[in-house]
């Protein structure tokens, strides 16, 4: 800062904090690299140790959150992550009928037209 100069400790802390906001590390990424400066915020489901980064919804590690296609199933059903998917109860119940295993078959998912 050029026009304000911190005098007491609290002001110095505020200046320090503001300096960090401008650093490139301010970008939020999943599974943030803890070696980056600034507070390490574990993002995603791991905050509650629910189906997420450490264990999947069955308590194993086969269905962890990382692949994007998991948004299609787990995140909005088993987890609380607000993934945008069609209304499968009323409007598009067969939306994923051809997709038996998301990791292999995700390309077979139909487009939905309103």
């Amino acid at each position: 800062m050029k026009h304000l100069r911190p005098v007491n400790r609290k002001a110095a802390l505020i200046e320090q904090q503001l300096g960090q906001e401008h650093a490139p590390a301010g970008e939020v990424v999943a599974l943030q690299d803890p070696t980056q400066p600034g507070p390490h915020v574990p993002l995603g489901c791991s905050l509650v140790f629910f189906p997420g980064w450490e264990v999947d919804r069955n308590g194993g590690t086969a269905g962890l959150c990382q692949p994007v296609e998991r948004d299609l199933f787990d995140c909005h059903i088993g987890c609380f992550w607000p993934a945008q998917v069609p209304d499968q109860l009323n409007y598009a119940p067969d939306w994923t009928a051809k997709c038996a295993a998301a990791q292999k078959d995700w390309r077979k998912i139909d487009l939905i037209f309103p």
Binding site: L4, P6, V7, N8, A11, L18
Partner: protein, 477 residues
């Protein structure tokens, strides 16, 4: 573009410069001319970016104004006209480590000072009379165990002895110190000891004991003979000055490891702060002197009110200026009120509570009940458990919930609240019958005093930065 307004702050000048104390962050920033002019322009009104530009770009350049506005917004000195979100009310994490335990080893006293909050007209009913007159050794030991347990992970605990007149129960003080040393050593901790006394019972062997055992001593004394003998009298009415003077001098000569402090109670009959200070430091030799107005109901004739507070403030200011001169010269000045406030300003403390009572500090009555602080010891209404049964977490949570600064609506618009937080619980109880209320009778005085301390702090920051470094060392990381 939406309009900008100045957020809550207190502005002041020192060493020829302009400063802002931001509320509620308690940050102190020095302002350059542009920042100062922007805040002047926004004094009491809102202006848009364009209006600020047309007013100030001629003097400081459009780019300079923009850059300064950005900085002021980022430190939250400026904001939009939308009402600011209130600071969330966060209660301290509990169990909070106990730092200081005050043992009221007796509720008896050999003096009968008319203004005494324990025995005088404004006492808490029953607090000093319902329990046993002296704390037993067993209770004191239980209190030591309680303190070491409640201090949690903290390696140091502070044990303070109080009364009544503390030295009336010297045997228990001695045995508690020996026991605390032994238990603390077994647990790998250390304990500091301190006590307050009226000095009447400071005999040679007592002084020797206190010095050898490194017990910090605070002496309650009001000043020169005429002032001291006005209130601090024996039961028969005889003044105590002539009795205490030689004893205090003997203590000061022998006990060098700790700074021996004097604690002065001010009343309407003793408003000459400077004279008292001179007497206690120069003539008696105290290293530190702290002053506090007597805690009384408003109707007492010795209660300091309106003009009295102004008179005290004027003299506090003069002494604080003198403190500044000494500090600039690198010399010690014993006006402890100013030091305490400077430390809080330096740290940037923004307190949800006025003091650590009920949290890091607790008082113990003669029967072992734990209270908010020593002043409430023995009062059933302010009981927070017992040394045998531990802290009553429910009562503690209720007190912290109800006494939080967020509950003190009177304080919500006061810039001094980060330091004051409503003021002493006991003072509030005495004035208003409710410890949770803010002390509205001395708001002007507190604001005036903090303003003075801010000026002195900023002056030292500019002219003697190494003083701030020393403060850093004092207050720790």
């Amino acid at each position: 573009m939406s309009a900008l307004v100045a957020r809550e702050m207190h502005r002041f000048r020192a060493a020829g410069g302009s400063f802002a104390y931001l509320v509620p962050s308690a940050a102190v920033f020095s302002l350059d001319e542009t920042a100062s002019a922007i805040l002047d322009a926004l004094d009491g009104k809102s202006l848009t970016h364009e209006q600020l530009h047309s007013e100030l770009a001629g003097r400081f350049g459009a780019a300079g104004v923009d850059e300064t506005l950005r900085e002021l917004v980022r430190v939250r000195a400026l904001g939009s006209t939308e009402p600011e979100r209130p600071v969330p009310k966060a209660l301290p994490v509990r169990p909070f480590p106990l730092q200081t335990l005050v043992l009221n080893v007796t509720n008896q006293c050999n003096l009968s000072c008319a203004y005494c909050y324990e025995y005088g007209e404004d006492r808490i009913p029953g607090a000093a009379t319902d329990g046993p007159r002296f704390m037993s050794e067993d209770t004191a030991r239980a209190a030591v165990d309680f303190m070491l347990k409640e201090s949690g992970q903290s390696p140091v605990a502070h044990l303070t002895f109080f009364g009544g007149e503390t030295l009336l129960n010297l045997p228990v003080l001695k045995s508690a110190i020996a026991y605390a040393r032994e238990r603390a050593a077994a647990l790998g901790k250390s304990v500091d000891f301190s006590m307050t006394t009226n000095a009447t019972l400071l005999k040679s062997d007592v002084i020797e004991y206190l010095a050898e055992n490194d017990v910090g001593v605070t002496i309650s004394i009001d000043g020169p003979k005429d002032v001291q003998d006005g209130f601090r009298v024996f039961k028969g009415g005889a003044g105590s000055y002539d009795v205490v003077l030689p004893k205090i001098k003997q203590l000061l000569a022998r006990h060098k490891r700790h700074l021996i402090g004097a604690r002065v109670t001010l009343t309407t009959r003793s408003l000459d702060v400077k004279r008292i200070f001179r007497h206690l430091t120069e003539e008696i030799g105290f290293a530190e002197v702290g002053f506090a107005p007597a805690t009384t109901a408003a109707k007492r004739d010795y209660a300091i009110e309106g003009e009295g507070y102004e008179a005290v403030l004027e003299q506090f200011r003069a002494l604080a200026r003198e403190f500044l001169e000494y500090a600039l010269d690198g010399r010690h000045h014993g006006f402890s009120n100013v030091k305490d406030t400077l430390e809080e300003i330096h740290k940037g403390m923004s307190k949800p509570y006025p003091c650590g009572a009920g949290l890091g500090l607790l008082g113990v009555s003669t029967d072992g009940d734990v209270a908010l602080c020593h002043r409430f010891a023995g009062s059933n209404a302010h009981k927070l458990g017992s040394v045998a049964g531990g802290i009553d977490r429910e009562a503690q949570a209720r007190f912290l919930e109800e006494s939080h600064i967020a509950e003190k609506t009177d304080c919500s618009r006061c810039w001094a609240r980060p330091v004051c937080a409503g003021g002493c619980y006991h003072e509030a109880w005495t004035r208003y019958g409710d410890a949770r209320r803010p002390n509205l009778h001395y708001c002007e005085w507190i604001r005036g005093w903090i303003h003075t301390c801010l000026e002195i702090y900023a002056e030292l920051a500019v002219r003697k930065p190494e003083f701030l470094q020393r403060l850093d060392e004092r207050v720790g990381a």
